[in-house]
């Protein structure tokens, strides 16, 4: 089957970026918006077609095989160090193609309405195209180095998009923070890549992850500080993934990244960029699970802690986008947990499938949540819950779709969130009861804070509005409706036939024992939220007063940002940056200055030779002649 047309899926957004970027001041805003959106429509259709072609050929005995549509040699340093660029199609990347292009298309259409009238509209669409290109390139990478290249591109595009309102200092600071934190994590990523490829002599994914390959069948046994180099490599690679996916303690950039426009948050920080870490672990999953299961343990615990941590903080935040950001952190924690508790092959690989299933469904309902929040923000011109309330009367479509999304994330059947979250809980239960218990509690907390959000926006009391809010324009509501439909239906996609750890389909059984408690705790969470927030009352304030100290700590996100600032200002600046700066200023610059000054000084000395005094000149040449005579006659 010829998949060479998939190159268009990568080239079209890049071309879109180039055109929209170069001609941004010649194109009218709606023109560039339409061009960008049409571009995305083509790409989305191509992705759907690819998915159809790929999955319809059936899995066969050995499961879905990876297809390399392209693999060209780009850089060749030596025989063993070569970097290729190409397109790899396997169940994971095809699924990601579908997710990314769909969400990106929804965001493109939505932005036609949301960003209308904004300054820099064309620039926005150019950056969206760039981001889409980078993310698509990341997921179809054939080798880990290409992935790293696109990883960095994704980071750069997100920097551009978060800092879109560049005249706001908070936005600039947030984009810098995002870029620096992810860049710092990418240090670990690069080290991991180099380590892994040094010992296995390859960058290529199919070689790395093949069961007969050197990474898995004969893993390098060199030890460093008690752990094998494979474990070190995989942990370092996970560090990169943790940075992009905002796992604790590298999560600090995600709440701040809400400074960007809301559709950007929907695209980047809900559906695509933040799942890049999950994608990375999933991509290298065979190496993780078969060669270094210890790193999987670490991943599971980190994910679990992050989801609990983020869920608790989300209960106290007042900015609706911040609540959604922490919710994203929590859900990605779920995905990491699912990967961490997974085994390999068939039933054992349930966690892997569950993680990717959750990624799939989460993309839709989280994008829906963000776009709905954007719709609300657009109507009320404020991000804070305290400025909202009773909006169900004014914005029916937003209300209904938001409700559907909240029910989905809470895990109410038969919506998609229930199916994916349930599979994760099953996988956790079978491998690690503690993590299962934590995740089960987090499910309840999730339901609570999501419905707290829902009620505070659409029910509760109605504040005095500057002007009566109205429903958003069609461009904004159509994606909401489409995503709501997707959230409902996505649960019925037979993931266990399509995307599994070893490519082969397996059978999943419905575990009543797990499903019922998870639904129950979700209902408990919804119930408490209804009790607290549906009508205006003083119960929430009483609870807050009762636990004031704890509430403050949680409200300030556990002061993690302050700790980071302290470390950087007091420790790193004083002990590392200051000496380095001193060195640079005095020794490096000093050497240059010294060379310059020496030259000037020397010339000052020498210029006296041109003193204008005749007798000097005479003396110079007579002594010169005599010296020359002496040298030639006697020292020859």
């Amino acid at each position: 089957m010829d998949y060479s047309y998939t190159l268009l899926i990568l080239l079209l957004p890049l071309l879109g970026f180039a055109l929209l970027g170069l001609f941004h001041d010649r194109l009218k805003p709606m023109m560039s918006g339409t061009l960008g959106t049409l571009n995305l429509v083509v790409i989305t259709l191509l992705s759907y077609y690819t998915a159809f072609l790929y999955f319809s050929q059936g899995s066969g005995e050995s499961g879905y095989t990876a297809v390399k549509a392209f693999n060209v040699l780009w850089l060749s340093f030596s025989e063993s160090l070569q970097i290729h660029l190409g397109i790899l199609l396997d169940p994971l990347s095809v699924m990601m193609l579908v997710v990314i292009t769909t969400v990106s298309l929804m965001v493109h259409i939505y932005s036609l309405g949301y960003m209308k009238g904004e300054k820099g509209f064309q620039r926005y669409y150019a950056f969206l195209s760039l981001f889409t290109f980078s993310m698509l390139g990341l997921v179809v990478a054939t080798n880990i180095f290409q992935m790293y290249i696109f990883w960095e591109l994704v980071g750069a595009s997100s920097y551009l998009l978060i800092g879109f309102y560049y005249e706001r200092p908070s936005a600039v600071a947030a984009s810098k923070k995002a870029f620096i934190v992810t860049r710092f994590a990418d240090l670990g990523f690069l080290l991991g890549i180099l380590l892994l490829s040094f010992y296995t002599n390859t960058f290529d994914f199919t070689t790395l992850t093949s069961v007969d390959g050197v990474a898995i069948s004969t893993p390098p046994t060199a030890l460093f500080l008690g752990m094998s180099v494979t474990t070190w490599a995989m942990l370092l690679i996970f560090m990169g993934g943790a940075g992009k996916s905002a796992m604790f303690p590298l999560h600090i950039w995600l709440p701040d990244a809400m400074e960007g426009p809301t559709p950007v948050s929907a695209l980047i920080h809900a559906a695509t960029m933040v799942v890049a870490g999950v994608y990375l672990v999933a991509r290298l999953f065979p190496v993780y699970v078969l060669s270094s299961p210890d790193s999987l343990e670490v991943i599971a615990y980190v994910g679990s802690f992050t989801s609990l941590f983020a869920a608790i903080i989300a209960c106290t935040q007042l900015d609706i986008k911040r609540v959604l950001a922490f919710s994203t952190l929590s859900q990605i924690g779920y995905m990491m947990v699912a990967l961490g508790v997974s085994g390999y092959g068939g039933e054992e690989g349930l966690g892997y499938m569950a993680a990717l299933f959750h990624l799939f469904t989460h993309a839709f309902f989280k994008a829906l949540l963000f776009l709905g929040a954007g719709s609300v923000i657009h109507a009320v011109h404020s991000n804070l819950m305290t400025d909202m309330g009773g909006l169900r009367k004014y914005m029916p479509i937003t209300h209904i779709t938001f409700l559907i999304a909240c029910l989905t994330i809470a895990g109410i059947p038969p919506l998609s969130g229930f199916f994916s979250k349930d599979e994760i809980l099953v996988a956790a239960f079978e491998h690690n009861k503690i993590i299962f218990a934590v995740q089960w509690m987090v499910a309840g907390i999730t339901a609570f804070y999501m419905f707290r959000l829902y009620f505070n926006i659409f029910w509760n009391r109605t504040p005095v509005f500057h002007h009566t809010p109205h429903e958003s324009p069609t461009f904004m509501t159509v994606p909401l409706i489409l995503l709501a439909i997707a959230s409902v239906l996505a649960g019925f996609v037979p993931f266990h036939d399509l995307v599994t750890s070893d490519g082969k389909a397996f059978h999943t059984v419905f575990h009543w024992m797990i499903a019922i408690p998870s639904v129950l705790i979700a209902l408990v969470g919804i119930g408490i939220a209804t009790w607290f927030y549906k009508k205006q009352n003083s119960i929430p304030d009483q609870v807050v007063q009762g636990a004031k100290r704890i509430y403050d700590i949680v409200f300030h996100k556990f002061y993690i940002d302050e700790i980071y600032l302290f470390i950087t200002h007091k420790v790193i600046f004083n002990f590392i940056s200051q000496p380095v700066a001193w060195f640079d200023r005095h020794i490096v610059d000093g050497t240059m200055n010294l060379i310059g000054d020496t030259t000037v000084y020397g010339s000052n000395l020498i210029k006296k030779m041109q003193s204008g005094q005749i007798q000097w000149y005479i003396w110079f040449f007579t002594s010169g002649v005599l010296l020359l005579a002496f040298l030639l006659l006697y020292l020859n």
Binding site: K607, Q610, S611, G612, Q613, I614, Q615, I618, W619, T622
Partner: protein, 107 residues
């Protein structure tokens, strides 16, 4: 009279060398332009002695040294005259003939 028998050539060479370098010292030490000129005249005379001595002792069948010395004398005269003219000009411009004060062509 023929000096070859009584005064060897070396005496003449020593004499002319000493005179030449004394003249050089005179040029280097003296601050006055005119006294520098006197040193130059000493050097030229030393050269003349040299030419004449070599002619007399080594090549008595030719007169090249003689004529060379003659030409050198004529040139020395012309040069001294020009030098004096220049010195007078400098005196008019700078009101001094101290060589340290005429150093405008410097850095």
């Amino acid at each position: 009279m023929n000096l070859q028998a009584e005064i060897p050539l070396h005496y003449m060479i020593v004499l002319s060398t000493l005179l030449f370098f004394i003249g050089l010292v005179g040029v280097l030490i003296r601050r006055n332009l005119i006294t520098m000129l006197m040193g130059i005249e000493l050097m030229l005379n030393a050269v003349n002695i040299n030419f004449v001595a070599f002619n007399h002792y080594l090549y008595p069948h030719r007169l090249e040294g003689h004529f060379f010395a003659l030409i050198v004398m004529a040139i020395a005269a012309a040069e001294a005259a020009i030098a004096i003219a220049l010195i007078i000009n400098i005196y008019r411009k700078f009101s001094t003939v101290n060589v340290d004060d005429v150093d405008e062509l410097k850095y």
